[in-house]
């Protein structure tokens, strides 16, 4: 029984790391630009398809690692394009409803464009480790998942270093805390917007490869990561990056354990139960940010 618990916790950690990765971008974009992007999960979908195509060319683990890099590049560009074409023109006149609606428009558009170009049939990213598993003290998992976890943690760690050590990273954090003051420090706000979208989307793209390798790749797969990422983001407080990292792991473990001990059927709803509870108790999330400046 205890090993089952450990097993589920481990599974939760692994999936949670992917949730964190997706949610970080969402929460960064919200923090800096106050945009709730409902199309965020579609960046993951595009990332996953990048892997599908690349791995048809270069199979095996080299293709897989290559896909992760390629996904970051391709989806990063997609993020910049969507920011420029769709979100930036709304600056200065947007309301919550406008932003949410326009991102839903983008969600519908991307989802169905993918359906057009890639077809509706789910595809698999083949396991570069050919199903190898590892056993550690009664708990077992696939090598693939270990690598997924590793990559997520590396990406999250790299981002943390970027945000804490580099000038631009600190500028991103500063902008999300007080946009006006950041401008007065000489921060080029448009550059920060572009950068934030680029980084946020690229992370979601990378996560998409990991997510797609664990589950299946299909045009409608973006909805689930979007919702999960929102749950995580709200749990951690919208705009709070560290909150999003914790939130991702919390959600991953809660789903894994809750799915096992409570009700498997409702596994995907556990996050919603949690946030509805959390929001009713603390309307700004667990690690809730203070009211905007």
């Amino acid at each position: 029984m205890e090993s089952l618990f450990l097993q589920q916790t481990l599974n939760g950690l692994i999936i949670g790391s992917i949730y964190s990765l997706i949610a970080i971008g969402l929460t960064m974009i919200f923090g800096v630009m106050k945009i709730s992007n409902f199309a965020h999960g579609d960046y993951s979908m595009v990332g996953a398809y990048t892997a599908v195509f690349l791995m048809a060319w270069v199979p095996g683990w080299m293709g897989w690692v290559g896909s992760i890099i390629a996904a970051a590049a391709v989806v990063g560009i997609l993020g910049i394009v969507t920011e420029r074409l769709i979100f930036r023109p709304l600056i200065g006149r947007w309301t919550d409803i406008d932003i949410i609606m326009v991102s839903i428009g983008l969600f519908i558009l991307l989802e169905n464009l993918a359906q057009l170009f890639f077809g509706a049939t789910p595809q698999m990213i083949s396991d570069p480790f050919k199903g190898a598993t590892v056993h550690i003290g009664g708990v077992s998992t696939s090598v693939l998942r270990v690598f997924c976890f590793g990559f997520s943690c590396i990406a999250i760690g790299a981002l943390q270093i970027f945000l804490n050590r580099s000038k631009l990273g600190v500028a991103i954090r500063a902008t999300s805390q007080n946009r006006f003051a950041a401008q007065l420090m000489g921060v080029d706000i448009n550059l920060i917007y572009t950068l934030t979208f680029w980084v946020g989307a690229a992370l979601a793209g990378v996560a998409g490869v990991l997510y797609g390798t664990t589950f299946a790749v299909h045009p409608l797969m973006g909805a689930m990561p979007t919702l999960k990422a929102f749950v995580v983001t709200i749990l951690g407080g919208m705009g709070n990056i560290r909150g999003a990292i914790f939130g991702g792991f919390i959600l991953g473990i809660a789903e894994s354990l809750g799915g096992n001990y409570l009700a498997m059927e409702y596994q995907h709803a556990i996050g919603f139960f949690i946030i509805i509870l959390v929001l009713l108790l603390r309307p700004r999330g667990l690690f809730g940010a203070k009211e905007g400046t």
Binding site: F30, S36, I86, P89, L90, D96, I97, D98, I100, M101, V102, I104, G105, L106, F107, I108, L109, L110, E111, N112, L113, Q115, L116, A223, L227, F230, V231, I234, M238, A263, E265, Y266, H268, A269, G271, F272, F273, I275, I276, L279, L280, P283
Partner: protein, 336 residues
């Protein structure tokens, strides 16, 4: 007075045209589409009351539709309630859920409310998938009874064909439209719009904003539930998909493109997009693909970017361009 008369005449003409439509076009497939467009019109109008007039961004509207559909179907199938009462029952039960969903709205707004409402719908959808004894899971309920015949003395009406449902749905649409018109053009509607435009300002003039939110959630859900009931008895098949995110997204796309917060917008959006997407379906062979939803997404983005008030706003701008005499607002279906 003559303006009023003209208006009345126009309304009568529109109603007459709608009444004889099934006699003119008898193709069943076309009527099927028109009936579905009518059902969607009720959805868009009810969502518009919530999002457009009171500013409550509910992204779980499909839940009310699904609740109405399941309730109405189950009342008829399990308890043998007449489908006519079932429609009403579906609305009432959905209204009750709307009341419940109103509570989070008392404290949340913007993205927080949006996600909570999506979560609400998703949870209910999973209930519908998993409560197999009641809902038959993802197979859905099939064989839902038709609406029972109406007899008034020698005159009677039976409900087998699309044409028959057309009249029922038309009546429901007109009823909903009438109610929405009344709600929005009354002290009630002004209060809702006040709370939408500035909640603190609204409270400062004595508006109990919490009560209004609960009320508008309930009312909106009632109509969405009724639409669900009509859907159930018309298609005779209800699956958990009725509660999916896509139903909500279709509804809001139609409303936004028609014109959020206007009287005519939701109708215009629902009817035009329903017809348009069917037309696109006929072109599918030509394009070799289904570009319907791609277009939805594209139009939705364009609407928010370039025409905030949707098609109604465009029509209004054109009208004002012609007459260069604008009263500022109240275009579309408003009666003066």
């Amino acid at each position: 007075m003559s303006k009023r008369l003209k208006h009345r005449l126009r309304s009568v003409a529109v109603v007459a045209a709608l009444l004889i439509l099934p006699q003119v076009v008898q193709e069943r497939y076309f009527l099927h589409i028109v009936v579905m467009a009518g059902i969607y019109t009720i959805m868009t109008m009810s969502w518009n009351l919530l999002a457009g007039y009171s500013g409550q961004l509910n992204l779980g509207h499909a839940a009310f539709f699904g609740i109405g559909a399941y309730s109405s179907a189950l009342l008829a199938m399990k308890l043998g309630v007449s489908p006519w009462f079932g429609l009403l029952g579906g609305g009432v039960i959905a209204g009750f859920f709307g009341f419940l969903l109103g509570f989070p709205a008392l404290r949340l707004s913007g993205p927080y409310l949006a996600i909570t409402t999506i979560g609400f719908a998703e949870i209910l959808r999973l209930v519908a998938v998993n409560w197999v004894d009641l809902t038959r899971g993802s197979l859905g309920l099939s064989g839902i009874p038709l609406l029972t015949p109406i007899r008034l003395g020698s005159w009677g009406m039976e409900f087998y064909f699309e044409r028959d449902y057309y009249y029922v749905v038309l009546a429901a649409v007109v009823f909903t439209y009438f109610c929405m018109l009344r709600f929005t053009h009354s002290e009630f509607g002004v209060s809702l719009q006040a709370l939408r435009d500035d909640e603190q300002g609204a409270q400062s003039i004595g508006i109990h904003t919490s009560q209004y939110k609960l009320a508008v959630f309930t009312i909106s859900a009632f109509f969405a539930g009724m639409a669900g009931g009509l859907f159930a008895h018309f298609t005779r098949l209800v699956s958990p998909d009725t509660m999916s995110l896509h139903v909500t997204f279709d509804t809001l796309t139609m409303t936004m493109i028609g014109g959020l917060g206007t009287t005519a917008g939701p109708i215009l959006g629902a009817v035009l997009l329903s017809l348009l997407s069917e037309w696109l379906r006929t072109l599918e062979d030509f394009f070799r693909m289904d570009i319907r939803l791609v277009l939805y997404g594209f139009l939705l983005i364009l609407t928010i970017r370039f025409m905030r008030e949707g098609l109604v706003g465009v029509v209004r701008a054109l009208k004002e361009g012609f007459s260069s005499y604008g009263k500022g607002r109240n275009a579309g279906g408003d009666h003066d």
